[in-house]
Symmetry: C2
Subunit: 312 residues, 2 copies
């Protein structure tokens, strides 16, 4: 009986619109802009009393603005008597700062999780967290989806022979393994080692890539350093072609230039982060949409149905 | 016995340094920078176990970055076992979003107060809040200082005859009254009225400014619209000269151009927000330092002495 309403900040309005299209409804009306001094200005322009509200907002670049927008939109909705507020965060920024890997550093991913609860989110829906542990940083229920089915669907349709799924580092082996299994492809791992403090990194490939089509798999592609280095290592070992699939297209700093200059033939990403014209500069980029997946999850959460079958 | 340590983000490092100079100690070592994708990177570079730590950071432009820096620095200090963390926020941004003046808007000032507690601040030290009520938004102790003594000292030394203190709007009358009383000067108020929705604003001056030196007083000067309009209204009523004193130099958008073109002879501000070279573009700006005031407050908070005499 509670009405389903979907709102969006400025991080990925196109994705929010596509989610609405999937659900056959219009986007909730809200003004999300900023004052002259850069303070965020939010006004919810329609009644949300008693509604089941979803706010679609990745905490992607500009990350601090996106995060604050999300928090302030949630505050406005809460004070407008929404019945339940779900923060839909397709890309959860600050995910890499999820542990103290050196003394006296923050655990920003935990801080951000706390900020989202403090603002008033009752639930979180997110995708491909940098580490599964981040779910535990929240004190509210989290539905954690994987972009795997969307990527898998595209990869399968390509009908590539001699496919090898490669993890660019030891941390990504589990993810790569899940893909390799579904694709009935072999698995390989890149083991980066530095022999001494000022020695060049050595890329060791564990597994056979000679003559193969190598699919490098990662949760995100940021400056593209890891992926491009890994791609070169695979090419050096005789790979027939090297391409990559990464859920989150962070693509900061030298990323586009590196990808363009690299031996990578294609970089498949999703729309958890908008490309904002980057695909024009860099035609190797190919974007898939997670809108149907998120839309279906939202529908099920709204209907109190299980979303676990979406994890397939 | 707990050691006093002072850290700073990137919002106003110069002020933090001056506070340290006042206290005769060096600034705590910390790296506060950002990763390629704009995520804030913090590392506390010295031991803070058991220390009484103060973090100096105005939430000024870029406001969302400054706020997140403050929160992440606090998180890092908390996880480094600081004994007590005081957020020193000379300018508290989002202060104007402190009430629902229309339906379905956030109360961002309250949200920000909650975020600061969530991050782990044990106390707050701030100056000239946009509204005194914002103190009540915090669940931790707040020391709320006024820049009044600093401004008053400067104004008194000018030995101006026929001084009239003018509040640019009804909301600032109390602040203007406090100044006028201390300066033994008269008080006047500007009453802005719009007769109809598309009618020009009428500036009514309540009180006598003819032949006087008019000091417009406000807590902040943002786009300078209010102050410049008020100045012109006073000039039109025959004021001898018009100048202004505002604690927080937000100075966004058209502010500098408006001030330059205006009849204002001087704009006195403090360093709660850094000018970052604006005084070169606009020589009417004159900056006073609140560092001794904040330094003294920090010393007293650290020594568990009362700070109330600083409110004089
Ligand atoms: N936004 C970021 N950009 C680049 N590196 C980061 C970022 N946030 C955290 N890190 C670093 O990435 C490392 C963690 O990444 P990972 O080992 O892939 O989980 C840590 O050493 C972090 O200091
Ligand atoms: N950063 C900002 N810049 C300009 N106006 C703002 C800002 N934040 C809030 N406001 C508006 O300022 C008004 C409150 O200011 P005041 O009446 O001076 O307390 C409200 O109508 C707010 O919508």
């Amino acid at each position: 009986n509670r009405e389903l309403k979907i709102f969006s900040g400025n991080a990925n309005p196109a994705l929010a619109h596509e989610i609405c299209t999937y659900l056959g409804q219009r986007l909730g009306e809200a003004t999300v802009s900023s004052f002259s001094d850069g303070e965020i200005r939010v006004k919810v322009d329609e009644n949300v009393r008693g509604a089941d509200v979803f706010v679609v907002q990745s905490t992607c670049q500009p990350v601090n603005d996106s995060l604050l927008e999300l928090l302030i939109i949630i505050d406005a909705l809460k004070r407008s008597s929404a019945n339940r507020i779900t923060a839909v965060i397709p890309y959860f920024g600050y995910g890499r700062q999820d542990r103290k890997d050196q003394p006296r550093v923050p655990i920003s991913a935990k801080l951000v999780a706390d900020l989202i609860s403090t603002a008033g989110a009752d639930r979180v829906l997110t995708m491909d967290l940098h580490a599964g542990q981040i779910q535990g940083f929240f004190n509210v229920p989290v539905d954690h989806l994987y972009a795997l089915p969307v990527l898998l669907d595209y990869i399968t349709k390509k009908k590539i022979s001699d496919l090898v799924v490669v993890s660019p580092d030891a941390g990504g082996v589990e993810r790569a393994r899940a893909f390799a299994k579904r694709l009935q492809a072999n698995l390989a791992i890149i083991d980066k080692r530095r022999e001494g403090p000022n020695q060049a990194q050595i890329m060791n490939i564990i597994g056979d890539v000679q003559g193969k089509s190598v699919l490098l798999l990662d949760d995100m592609i940021d400056t593209a350093g890891t992926i491009v280095q890994g791609a070169q290592a695979c090419a050096d070992k005789g790979a027939r072609e090297v391409w990559t699939a990464c859920t989150h297209a962070v693509l900061s700093g030298p990323a586009l230039e590196r990808i363009t200059k690299s031996c990578l033939s294609q970089v498949v990403v999703t729309d958890t982060i908008p490309l904002r014209g980057k695909e024009q500069t860099c035609p190797k980029l190919y974007q898939l949409s997670v809108a149907p997946l998120l839309g279906e999850a939202i529908r099920r959460i709204h209907e109190d149905e299980s979303v676990s079958s979406l994890f397939a």
